[in-house]
């Protein structure tokens, strides 16, 4: 039984766009049979929470030196490039 990967989803306030993104990722990854635990937070909390994540997804610019892969995207809001980002996320989680 594989341990779930931990995904941290961050946005400015931690309540609006991260909610949409978290839901969208949850559904997309479930469809692909990937076991993930998703946590939402504010962008200001990312640094302190990065240690407990395997992947970080943000809708706003984020620090890159966190030791964890970071994907910055608004694709789950605009729909533009959504499929490509999902593939990027899957790849990052499988590596």
């Amino acid at each position: 039984m594989d341990t779930p990967k931990r995904v941290l989803v961050a946005c400015g306030t931690g309540i609006a766009t991260s909610t949409v993104v978290a839901k969208a990722i949850e559904e997309a990854l479930k469809e692909r049979g990937l076991n993930v635990m998703i946590r939402q937070c504010k962008i200001s909390e990312v640094k302190s929470l990065a240690g407990d994540a395997d992947l970080i997804i943000t809708t706003t610019p984020a620090p890159k030196d966190l030791g964890v892969p970071v994907i910055q995207t608004i694709a789950f809001l605009t729909g533009i490039g959504k499929e490509e980002v999902i593939e990027e996320i899957v790849k990052a989680l499988e590596s």
Partner: protein
């Protein structure tokens, strides 16, 4: 449109075909309506304007019309609500993911969110509206509240 945008949108908080030149003017105009209707505190407008400057919400949608979804911390909200503005001429908002870029916006949703994750459906509905470029264009062509609600129901 499921129940949730319908439940949260109030006619007096929908401003149609407005003329503004700056993002803060739009946020202020819609925000004042939300305040007058008792949805938000008197600190909401300033907080939303400040938030937009630090953490912008401009979203380029790839069609002819772009959107922005300004909002702020839950402490400024009394009851959840959705305000909206359609703009006659584009107003520049900074791009959410690349703040150094300006996005010419004609559709603004001002979100008054009261708790984390509580308005998930409304947010998902807004996302699916934004992802429907035909619908976004049609929304901008509506001149009445009734017309706008009809379009939102098609989402």
């Amino acid at each position: 449109m499921s129940e949730t945008i319908a439940k949260l949108i109030n006619q007096s908080c929908v401003l149609i075909n407005c003329n503004y030149t700056k993002a803060e003017e739009v946020i202020s105009a819609v925000g004042m309506k939300l305040f007058e209707e008792g949805y938000v505190r008197d600190t909401f407008v300033k907080a939303a304007i400040d938030r937009e400057k630090q953490l912008p919400t401009g979203l380029p949608l790839g069609g002819g019309v772009n959107a922005a979804i300004p909002h702020t911390e839950i402490e400024h909200v009394i009851k959840p609500a959705l305000g909206m503005a359609t703009l006659k001429t584009p107003v520049a908002f900074q791009n959410m993911i690349s703040p150094e870029e300006m996005v010419p916006v004609r559709l603004v949703f001002l979100l008054a969110l009261e708790k984390p994750k509580a308005q998930v459906e409304m947010l998902q509905e807004i996302a699916s509206i934004l992802q429907n470029s035909v619908l976004v264009e049609e929304l901008l062509n509506e001149n009445t509240y009734e017309g706008i609600i009809q379009r939102l129901k098609q989402a």
